[in-house]
């Protein structure tokens, strides 16, 4: 069995009749604990400190921009008639999309018993939460009077004397995104509790021990607890799986239920969901490739994990490409003049540069993953994943801006120009995201130790069983 787990084995090679190992090297339960806990126990590296300082400054910039916006009014954005959904909504849809990979990896891959998810799911879930935090910020401030955003909640108001409008996709969106954020948070936190108990039990500092002790809720690792815990985890996965699909479906309803040419299409829900998974996995790769090197966890997040994600990016990239083509086909086949115009205008109108950036990044660039060399070379993945992130931001830009800038009233047509506040908020949202992510890397178990140990146990058992002719 030590042969199968020997160091330096290429676990991307498929061997018939044998599962490729997902935990590499001479890993033991204790070495997994050591590898993961060390990240949080060691003093921060120079790279982390520099990255954190940059991220915190950008996040502060976002905060100041929001303060300026609330103090001055939404006129500080580039949103002008008829483009009332400018970058805030583009950023919202972009970040919600990013937030899809985490729960997808955790829930859907869990239900399909894809064990390779175990070492990446924690980071992906954290990424989901932080992306949803960024996403939720934008509609919150886009409502104009942000201090009245609570009017979206169905509460008996003595000032309004009325209820929310439940037949509007914008309200569905409030429920979808807030439910998704809540359930993702529960799922993430619940998954972390056993690992937080590990942190607690390793802590020497009494304050640290107390803090992790409170977060770990007194977890002891009892088998009775584990039994209910695993049942709860499976149930949450089963609830979260349709939820993942519903969130971007409902976000797409914000567009598809309206009558704006280029938005009013039934393809939007599946197209948005595929795009969300596409962008989410790209963001996971963008984060994982540097993180596994910096934190020295290459034996846990192996090339095989990354290769699997590349395959998902390739697949969803093709689905997104097909969706772009189908939109054009339906615009022609439907013979609605406004729709036809909207799509020709997207590709060849004033925003042609955005459209072709989107096509190059989303449809053309992932095709490099047809080559195994590209799928197993981290720096190529990193470059392509950044391209995909750019492309997916442009996809939301193209959908939102081109359709609104050419509505049914030609006299109102306009060209969108972002203001400095738009730029600072977009960049600042990345600052917020990375601030949270880097804090998570320092303070929380970034790899699901319990599940990785269970995977190792299974691999040990299989190797052991093979050596003993079928085991017990």
């Amino acid at each position: 069995m030590s042969l199968a787990l020997s160091n330096g084995l290429d676990n991307t090679v498929e061997r018939p009749g044998q599962r490729a190992p997902l935990v590499l090297g001479d890993s033991t339960y204790h070495s997994i604990t050591e590898a993961v806990c060390k990240i949080a126990e060691q003093p921060p590296s120079r790279a982390w400190v520099i990255g954190f300082l940059v991220a915190v400054h950008l996040a502060t910039m976002l905060g100041l921009c929001i303060a300026y916006l609330i103090y001055t009014g939404v006129g500080v954005w580039g949103n002008r008639a008829p483009i009332f959904w400018g970058w805030p909504i583009v950023n919202f849809v972009f970040w919600v999309g990013i937030g899809h990979a985490g729960t997808l990896i955790s829930a859907i891959l869990y239900l399909f018993r894809q064990e390779w998810r175990t070492s990446i799911n924690r980071t992906a879930e954290a990424m989901t939460i932080f992306a949803v935090v960024c996403a939720g910020t934008f509609p919150g401030i886009h409502v104009g009077r942000a201090w009245l955003a609570f009017w979206l909640a169905p509460y008996p108001s003595l000032n309004l004397w009325m209820w929310p409008q439940f037949r509007s996709p914008l309200l569905w969106d409030v429920f979808a995104v807030s439910t998704y954020a809540t359930v993702s948070l529960l799922f993430w936190y619940m998954g972390m509790v056993p690992d937080l108990a590990t942190f607690r039990d390793r802590s020497k500092n009494p304050f640290r021990r107390a803090a992790y002790g409170v977060l770990a809720l007194g977890w002891s690792g009892s088998s009775r607890h584990w039994m209910r815990y695993e049942k709860a985890y499976a149930l949450l996965a089963a609830f979260a799986a349709p939820l993942v699909l519903s969130v971007h479906t409902i976000v797409s309803f914000d567009f598809a239920v309206s009558q704006v040419p280029g938005w009013h299409t039934t393809i939007f829900p599946p197209y948005f969901v595929a795009g969300a998974i596409f962008s989410g996995f790209a963001m996971v790769i963008t984060l994982m490739v540097p993180a596994r090197t910096i934190f020295n966890i290459e034996k846990l997040i192996t090339i095989r994990h990354l290769e699997n994600m590349c395959k998902i990016i390739l697949t969803t990239g093709m689905i997104v490409g097909l969706a772009y083509g189908t939109e054009f086909f339906i615009a022609w086949y439907g013979q609605v003049p406004e729709e036809k115009f909207a799509f020709i205008n997207r590709a060849f109108g004033p925003y042609w540069w955005a459209y072709w950036t989107m096509i190059s990044c989303n449809v053309i660039s992932p095709n490099i993953f047809w080559f195994k060399k590209a799928r197993t070379t981290p720096w190529i993945m990193l470059v392509v994943s950044i391209f995909v992130n750019i492309g997916m931001w442009f996809e939301r830009f193209v959908i939102t801006i081109t359709s609104l800038s050419r509505d049914y009233l030609p006299s109102a047509w306009a060209y969108f120009s972002p203001t400095w506040v738009d730029w600072c908020m977009l960049i600042g949202s990345f600052g917020l995201f990375f601030t949270l992510f880097l804090l998570f890397c320092r303070l929380m178990p970034i790899i699901n130790m319990a599940e990785t140990k269970a995977t190792l146990a299974k691999e040990l058992h299989m190797a052991h069983g093979a050596g003993h002719d079928g085991g017990h």
Binding site: M1, S2, D26, T28, Y29, H30, T33, W147, P154, W163, P164, Q165, F166, R167, S168, W172, F175, A176, T179, V183, L186, F187, M190, P194, T198, R200, D201, L217, G218, W219, S220, G221, S222, S223, R224, H225, W226, M227, R228, Y229, K231, A232, L235, L236, F239, A240, P242, L243, S246, I250, F253, M449, A450, E451, K453, A454, L456, A457, K458, H461
Partner: protein, 498 residues
């Protein structure tokens, strides 16, 4: 063996932390360590077979088949999740149907008040949300967590339960538990470091500083709520406290307000020098008042001066001010009965078809509601007033009455009446432009002509045709009269014959 067992084996040698039982301490059970899953599972099965039902294992990760090995019964958690999920479904449907379908009904995008398809997304989301809450909180509740004091945690060796060591625990609550026997049993099963689990004798009092801090925080957190509550019940003469202005205060100035923007401090700005405002070219007192001012200056210079001064002070005529020329034309009451005002007798606007049609349009909009479209004083308002027997109502004049004809009621006077009003009729200066009021005067004259004209008013070239038609009609009437007479005579003759 393989590498992952080495750490556990190494630990066996460093046997340092053996617990000693002190007086009065309860023994909760006995715990033993195992270094790998397979030996743990084998031991668990033997423990189960020996009749222990409350035994437990503590492992760093979920071990497959251990529930069967220990005889742990399945959990009711899925049922809690189902119940919570169904609660979510019900709450969502009832909430939406009540809020949009019953309590606050309004039609939007052609959907019915209770449109179930539109309620699906929120229902779905709340179902998932509550099912997830049920699962999450249900799991912790069933596990009895959070629980920060646990006798298991008293042994420092137990810290490895979340790292790489597996613990098997025989609970003292099991009926056949007996400390020495249990220890021997665990030894026999291959357990290392067999130890009793004792009461946690660490201090249970919360540090005083923490308590004071907590109490202070709670007390301070009430202050904002108390301040708000007090403000809600007390009255204040100072303006409302605005955290967010909410566009309550417009930066635009109202008329008559002062401003610091201009040197003169006036927010209402005069015309820019060298510009002409709309209608300014109509600025002519005769045109504005309907009075021949030159004549008035001769007959009643005092009134003329006052009128000029008044007109120059404010171009807007308002109902309350009235026209001093109309009321104060003369001194004594008898003289007031006789109108000596030199009214313009001719319309200063050049009459054309377009002026007349403009006058007609304006008349139909503003005048016809009382005076009627034909000017006979039977407009809708008047008819309604007659119907309800309105006691304060003065019927509007009939435009075709002889007292309103041009010879006794000159154009200027008619214009002045429209401008300033008379009896119940308000002045229309604020609503109808000066030029349009003159157009109405022209139209009223046309209306009068249409009802009270003589043949002499008809242009000469059309007079012949009218005369011819008149002759024809007269001839027909005569013929008819003759025929009727003849028939009457015949009837008389018949009667006399009979």
């Amino acid at each position: 063996m393989n590498s992952n067992f080495q750490t556990a084996d190494a630990m066996t040698d460093s046997n340092t932390n053996v617990q000693t039982i002190r007086d009065g301490q309860t023994v909760h059970g006995v715990v033993a360590e195992f270094s790998d899953v397979d030996s743990l599972l084998a031991a668990c099965r033997k423990v189960r077979d020996a009749g222990y039902t409350k035994a437990d294992a503590f492992t760093p990760f979920p071990v497959h088949h251990i529930d069967e090995a220990l005889g742990i019964k399945p959990t009711v958690l899925p049922w809690i999740a189902l119940a919570a999920g169904l609660t979510g479904t019900t709450i969502a449907l009832v909430m939406q149907i009540w809020m949009n379908g019953i309590d606050y009904q309004y039609i939007i995008s052609g959907k019915p008040y209770i449109s179930l398809p539109a309620f699906i997304p929120v229902t779905f989301e709340l179902t998932i949300l509550l099912a997830s809450f049920g699962t999450f909180f249900g799991m912790w509740a069933l596990n009895g967590l959070p629980k920060f004091s646990n006798p298991m945690f008293t042994s420092p060796r137990f810290d490895r339960a979340t790292d790489d060591t597996f613990f098997l625990y025989l609970n003292a609550k099991d009926s056949q538990f007996e400390e020495a026997g249990a220890k021997a049993f665990l030894d026999e099963l291959g357990g290392q470091h067999v130890e009793p689990v004792l009461d946690d004798d660490s201090s249970t009092t919360i540090p005083k500083g923490l308590l004071i801090g907590l109490a202070a925080t709670i007390a301070l957190s009430f202050i904002p709520a108390l301040v708000v509550a007090r403000m809600r019940v007390t009255k204040s003469t100072s303006p409302r406290f605005h955290i967010f202005p909410d566009m309550d205060f417009s930066p635009a100035k109202d008329a008559q307000q002062t401003t610091t923007l201009f040197v003169d401090g006036r927010s209402s700005r005069p015309d820019v020098p060298g510009t002409v405002s709309r209608g300014e070219f109509d600025w002519d007192l005769d045109f504005q008042t309907g009075i021949d001012m030159e004549q008035l200056a001769v007959t009643d210079s005092r009134s003329a001066e006052r009128l000029v001064a008044w007109m120059q002070s404010d171009t807007e005529t308002s109902e309350e001010d009235g026209d001093p020329a109309a009321s104060d034309a003369s001194g004594s009451p008898e003289e007031a009965m006789v109108d000596k005002t030199p009214w313009l007798t001719e319309n200063p606007v050049e009459i054309s078809a377009s002026v007349l049609s403009k006058g007609q349009q304006q008349f139909n909009i503003y005048c016809s509601v009382c005076h009627g479209v034909n000017g006979r004083g039977n407009g809708l308002v008047n008819r309604r007033a007659q119907d309800i027997l309105a006691t304060t109502w003065t019927p509007p004049s009939n435009m075709h009455d002889a007292t309103l004809h041009e010879d006794v009621y000159p154009d200027g006077k008619l214009f002045s009446t429209i401008t300033n009003g008379i009896r119940k009729m308000p002045g229309y200066a604020g609503q109808i432009k000066t030029r349009d009021r003159w157009a109405i005067v022209a139209y009223v004259r046309a209306l009068q002509a249409s009802q009270d004209a003589s043949l002499a008013d008809v242009p000469a070239e059309q007079r012949a045709a009218i005369e011819a038609e008149q002759n024809e009609v007269e001839a027909e009437l005569e013929a008819a009269a003759a025929a009727a007479e003849a028939a009457l005579d015949e009837a008389d003759a018949d009667e006399s014959e009979n």
